[in-house]
Protein backbone atom coordinates (compact mmCIF):
# COMPACT_ATOMS: atom_id res chain seq x y z
CA UNK A 1 0.00 0.00 0.00
CA UNK A 2 1.46 3.33 -1.04
CA UNK A 3 0.73 6.49 0.95
CA UNK A 4 2.09 9.97 1.31
CA UNK A 5 1.60 11.99 4.47
CA UNK A 6 1.49 15.79 4.54
CA UNK A 7 0.59 18.42 7.11
CA UNK A 8 -1.85 21.19 6.21
CA UNK A 9 -3.10 23.82 8.68
CA UNK A 10 -2.47 21.60 11.68
CA UNK A 11 -4.12 18.55 10.13
CA UNK A 12 -2.43 15.39 8.94
CA UNK A 13 -3.41 14.46 5.40
CA UNK A 14 -2.91 10.88 4.23
CA UNK A 15 -2.97 10.53 0.45
CA UNK A 16 -3.82 6.95 -0.52
CA UNK A 17 -1.84 6.24 -3.69
CA UNK A 18 -3.72 3.16 -4.82
CA UNK A 19 -6.52 2.59 -7.33
CA UNK A 20 -7.86 -0.38 -5.42
CA UNK A 21 -8.38 -1.19 -1.74
CA UNK A 22 -9.24 -4.82 -1.07
CA UNK A 23 -8.32 -7.62 1.32
CA UNK A 24 -4.80 -7.64 -0.09
CA UNK A 25 -3.87 -4.14 1.09
CA UNK A 26 -6.61 -3.12 3.57
CA UNK A 27 -4.62 -4.44 6.55
CA UNK A 28 -1.76 -2.13 5.59
CA UNK A 29 -4.22 0.77 5.35
CA UNK A 30 -5.70 -0.05 8.76
CA UNK A 31 -2.23 -0.32 10.31
CA UNK A 32 -1.20 3.03 8.85
CA UNK A 33 -4.37 4.74 10.06
CA UNK A 34 -4.06 3.34 13.58
CA UNK A 35 -0.40 4.33 13.69
CA UNK A 36 -1.18 7.90 12.66
CA UNK A 37 -4.07 8.14 15.10
CA UNK A 38 -2.49 6.57 18.17
CA UNK A 39 -1.11 9.88 19.40
CA UNK A 40 -4.67 11.15 19.49
CA UNK A 41 -6.46 14.46 19.53
CA UNK A 42 -5.97 15.68 15.99
CA UNK A 43 -7.72 15.43 12.68
CA UNK A 44 -6.56 12.93 10.09
CA UNK A 45 -7.81 13.67 6.59
CA UNK A 46 -7.74 10.69 4.22
CA UNK A 47 -7.59 11.70 0.56
CA UNK A 48 -9.03 9.02 -1.73
CA UNK A 49 -8.85 10.70 -5.14
CA UNK A 50 -6.89 7.83 -6.72
CA UNK A 51 -9.09 5.07 -5.30
CA UNK A 52 -11.45 3.65 -7.95
CA UNK A 53 -12.45 0.49 -6.10
CA UNK A 54 -13.04 -0.42 -2.48
CA UNK A 55 -14.41 -3.62 -0.98
CA UNK A 56 -15.79 -4.51 2.45
CA UNK A 57 -12.32 -4.89 3.98
CA UNK A 58 -11.34 -1.41 2.77
CA UNK A 59 -14.48 0.10 4.27
CA UNK A 60 -13.71 -1.85 7.45
CA UNK A 61 -10.19 -0.42 7.62
CA UNK A 62 -11.50 3.14 7.33
CA UNK A 63 -14.18 2.41 9.93
CA UNK A 64 -11.52 1.09 12.31
CA UNK A 65 -9.63 4.34 11.86
CA UNK A 66 -12.77 6.35 12.50
CA UNK A 67 -13.42 4.49 15.75
CA UNK A 68 -9.79 4.76 16.83
CA UNK A 69 -9.84 8.52 16.23
CA UNK A 70 -13.04 8.96 18.23
CA UNK A 71 -11.58 6.89 21.06
CA UNK A 72 -8.68 9.32 21.35
CA UNK A 73 -10.68 12.51 21.00
CA UNK A 74 -9.71 13.10 17.39
CA UNK A 75 -11.42 12.49 14.09
CA UNK A 76 -10.87 10.93 10.72
CA UNK A 77 -12.45 12.62 7.72
CA UNK A 78 -12.55 11.61 4.07
CA UNK A 79 -12.08 13.73 0.95
CA UNK A 80 -12.17 13.32 -2.84
CA UNK A 81 -14.18 10.10 -2.86
CA UNK A 82 -14.86 8.97 -6.42
CA UNK A 83 -18.56 8.33 -7.26
CA UNK A 84 -18.36 4.49 -7.47
CA UNK A 85 -16.56 4.38 -4.15
CA UNK A 86 -18.98 6.86 -2.59
CA UNK A 87 -21.84 4.58 -3.60
CA UNK A 88 -20.34 1.90 -1.36
CA UNK A 89 -20.49 4.28 1.59
CA UNK A 90 -24.09 5.11 0.73
CA UNK A 91 -25.31 1.53 0.46
CA UNK A 92 -23.79 0.72 3.85
CA UNK A 93 -24.93 4.09 5.24
CA UNK A 94 -21.35 4.80 6.25
CA UNK A 95 -21.76 8.20 4.59
CA UNK A 96 -23.71 9.07 7.76
CA UNK A 97 -20.85 7.88 9.98
CA UNK A 98 -17.92 9.66 8.31
CA UNK A 99 -17.39 13.35 7.74
CA UNK A 100 -17.01 13.47 3.95
CA UNK A 101 -15.87 16.54 1.99
CA UNK A 102 -15.59 17.21 -1.71
CA UNK A 103 -11.92 18.11 -1.54
CA UNK A 104 -9.06 18.98 0.78
CA UNK A 105 -9.77 22.74 0.81
CA UNK A 106 -13.35 22.16 1.93
CA UNK A 107 -12.20 19.79 4.67
CA UNK A 108 -9.51 22.18 5.91
CA UNK A 109 -11.98 25.07 5.97
CA UNK A 110 -14.39 22.95 8.02
CA UNK A 111 -11.66 22.13 10.55
CA UNK A 112 -10.58 25.76 10.99
Amino acid sequence: MNFTLEHHNGCQVLFVQEERIDAHNSIALKTELLQQLEQGGGTLIVQLAQVRFIDSSGLGALLSGHKQAALHGGKLVLVNIQPPVLSMFEITRLNRVFEIYTDLDEALTAQA
Binding site: D22, A23, H24, D55, S56, G60, L63, S64, S87, T92
Partner: protein, 149 residues
Amino acid sequence: MSPAIIQVDVIIPTQTRYLDLIGSIGGHIAKELDNYTGDRTALAYHLNLVLTEATANAIKHAHDKNSQELKDTKEAKDTVRICIHIEDKQLTIKVYDHGQGFDLETVAAPDFDNPQDHGMGLFFIKTFMDSVTYTQQADGNVLEIIKFL
Protein backbone atom coordinates in the same frame (compact mmCIF):
# COMPACT_ATOMS: atom_id res chain seq x y z
CA MET B 1 -26.70 -15.03 -34.66
CA SER B 2 -27.40 -16.35 -31.18
CA PRO B 3 -25.89 -14.56 -28.17
CA ALA B 4 -22.44 -15.75 -27.20
CA ILE B 5 -21.85 -18.07 -24.30
CA ILE B 6 -19.04 -16.91 -22.07
CA GLN B 7 -17.31 -19.38 -19.77
CA VAL B 8 -14.31 -18.49 -17.63
CA ASP B 9 -12.71 -21.05 -15.33
CA VAL B 10 -9.81 -19.90 -13.17
CA ILE B 11 -7.80 -21.58 -10.43
CA ILE B 12 -5.66 -19.36 -8.21
CA PRO B 13 -3.46 -19.88 -5.16
CA THR B 14 -5.11 -18.93 -1.85
CA GLN B 15 -3.36 -15.57 -1.81
CA THR B 16 -5.04 -12.18 -1.70
CA ARG B 17 -2.61 -10.80 -4.30
CA TYR B 18 -4.84 -12.45 -6.93
CA LEU B 19 -8.02 -10.61 -5.91
CA ASP B 20 -7.30 -7.79 -8.35
CA LEU B 21 -6.97 -10.29 -11.21
CA ILE B 22 -10.24 -12.06 -10.36
CA GLY B 23 -12.15 -8.83 -9.79
CA SER B 24 -10.92 -7.34 -13.05
CA ILE B 25 -12.29 -10.34 -14.99
CA GLY B 26 -15.76 -9.36 -13.76
CA GLY B 27 -15.18 -5.78 -14.82
CA HIS B 28 -14.11 -6.82 -18.31
CA ILE B 29 -17.02 -9.25 -18.74
CA ALA B 30 -19.52 -6.48 -17.99
CA LYS B 31 -18.12 -4.52 -20.92
CA GLU B 32 -18.34 -7.47 -23.32
CA LEU B 33 -21.93 -8.59 -22.71
CA ASP B 34 -24.21 -8.77 -25.73
CA ASN B 35 -27.56 -7.03 -25.52
CA TYR B 36 -27.10 -5.71 -21.97
CA THR B 37 -29.16 -2.55 -21.61
CA GLY B 38 -28.39 -1.63 -18.00
CA ASP B 39 -25.63 0.53 -16.57
CA ARG B 40 -22.45 -1.27 -17.66
CA THR B 41 -20.21 0.85 -15.44
CA ALA B 42 -22.23 -0.07 -12.37
CA LEU B 43 -22.37 -3.73 -13.42
CA ALA B 44 -18.60 -3.75 -13.92
CA TYR B 45 -18.06 -2.46 -10.38
CA HIS B 46 -20.58 -4.89 -8.91
CA LEU B 47 -19.11 -7.94 -10.64
CA ASN B 48 -15.61 -6.83 -9.65
CA LEU B 49 -16.83 -6.44 -6.06
CA VAL B 50 -18.76 -9.70 -5.87
CA LEU B 51 -15.90 -11.74 -7.32
CA THR B 52 -13.46 -10.01 -4.98
CA GLU B 53 -15.61 -10.62 -1.89
CA ALA B 54 -16.43 -14.24 -2.76
CA THR B 55 -12.81 -15.09 -3.53
CA ALA B 56 -11.53 -13.31 -0.41
CA ASN B 57 -14.01 -15.36 1.65
CA ALA B 58 -12.80 -18.60 0.08
CA ILE B 59 -9.16 -17.68 0.75
CA LYS B 60 -10.00 -16.79 4.35
CA HIS B 61 -11.87 -20.05 4.94
CA ALA B 62 -9.01 -22.06 3.46
CA HIS B 63 -6.63 -20.45 5.94
CA ASP B 64 -9.04 -20.92 8.85
CA LYS B 65 -9.08 -24.67 8.35
CA ASN B 66 -7.55 -26.90 10.97
CA SER B 67 -3.82 -27.22 10.31
CA GLN B 68 -3.78 -31.04 10.45
CA GLU B 69 -6.57 -31.28 7.90
CA LEU B 70 -4.67 -28.76 5.85
CA LYS B 71 -1.67 -31.10 5.78
CA ASP B 72 -3.86 -34.03 4.71
CA THR B 73 -4.99 -32.44 1.48
CA LYS B 74 -2.62 -29.56 1.18
CA GLU B 75 -2.55 -29.38 -2.58
CA ALA B 76 -6.32 -29.00 -2.93
CA LYS B 77 -6.57 -26.39 -0.18
CA ASP B 78 -3.84 -24.24 -1.63
CA THR B 79 -6.14 -23.20 -4.45
CA VAL B 80 -9.50 -21.56 -5.05
CA ARG B 81 -11.47 -22.26 -8.23
CA ILE B 82 -13.71 -19.60 -9.71
CA CYS B 83 -16.11 -20.34 -12.58
CA ILE B 84 -18.09 -17.70 -14.43
CA HIS B 85 -20.74 -18.76 -16.93
CA ILE B 86 -22.99 -16.47 -18.94
CA GLU B 87 -25.80 -17.84 -21.06
CA ASP B 88 -29.35 -16.74 -21.88
CA LYS B 89 -29.20 -13.53 -19.83
CA GLN B 90 -28.05 -15.36 -16.72
CA LEU B 91 -24.62 -14.92 -15.18
CA THR B 92 -23.55 -17.62 -12.75
CA ILE B 93 -20.49 -17.41 -10.56
CA LYS B 94 -19.29 -20.45 -8.63
CA VAL B 95 -16.48 -20.16 -6.12
CA TYR B 96 -15.16 -23.45 -4.79
CA ASP B 97 -13.32 -23.58 -1.48
CA HIS B 98 -11.89 -26.32 0.70
CA GLY B 99 -12.36 -24.65 4.08
CA GLN B 100 -14.58 -25.66 6.97
CA GLY B 101 -17.57 -23.93 5.41
CA PHE B 102 -20.33 -21.89 7.00
CA ASP B 103 -24.11 -21.64 7.11
CA LEU B 104 -25.22 -18.84 4.82
CA GLU B 105 -28.54 -18.55 6.65
CA THR B 106 -26.89 -17.77 9.99
CA VAL B 107 -24.71 -14.94 8.69
CA ALA B 108 -26.20 -11.81 10.22
CA ALA B 109 -26.95 -8.74 8.14
CA PRO B 110 -24.85 -5.68 9.00
CA ASP B 111 -26.20 -3.46 11.77
CA PHE B 112 -26.20 -0.06 10.07
CA ASP B 113 -26.89 1.75 13.34
CA ASN B 114 -23.83 0.18 14.93
CA PRO B 115 -21.49 -0.50 12.01
CA GLN B 116 -18.68 -2.99 12.45
CA ASP B 117 -15.43 -3.23 10.52
CA HIS B 118 -16.27 -6.72 9.24
CA GLY B 119 -19.23 -8.71 7.93
CA MET B 120 -20.15 -6.59 4.92
CA GLY B 121 -18.89 -8.90 2.18
CA LEU B 122 -21.87 -11.25 1.99
CA PHE B 123 -24.20 -8.27 2.32
CA PHE B 124 -22.71 -6.83 -0.88
CA ILE B 125 -23.03 -10.15 -2.70
CA LYS B 126 -26.67 -10.54 -1.67
CA THR B 127 -27.45 -6.90 -2.46
CA PHE B 128 -26.00 -6.76 -5.96
CA MET B 129 -26.86 -10.28 -7.13
CA ASP B 130 -30.20 -12.08 -7.50
CA SER B 131 -29.49 -15.43 -5.83
CA VAL B 132 -26.82 -16.70 -3.45
CA THR B 133 -26.46 -20.27 -2.17
CA TYR B 134 -23.67 -22.04 -0.32
CA THR B 135 -23.43 -25.81 -0.45
CA GLN B 136 -21.10 -27.86 1.71
CA GLN B 137 -19.90 -31.10 0.16
CA ALA B 138 -17.47 -33.80 1.20
CA ASP B 139 -14.90 -32.75 -1.38
CA GLY B 140 -15.32 -29.00 -0.86
CA ASN B 141 -17.85 -26.19 -0.74
CA VAL B 142 -19.33 -24.03 -3.43
CA LEU B 143 -20.74 -20.52 -3.24
CA GLU B 144 -23.11 -20.09 -6.18
CA ILE B 145 -24.15 -16.59 -7.19
CA ILE B 146 -26.65 -15.78 -9.93
CA LYS B 147 -27.31 -12.46 -11.62
CA PHE B 148 -30.08 -12.04 -14.20
CA LEU B 149 -28.90 -9.69 -16.91
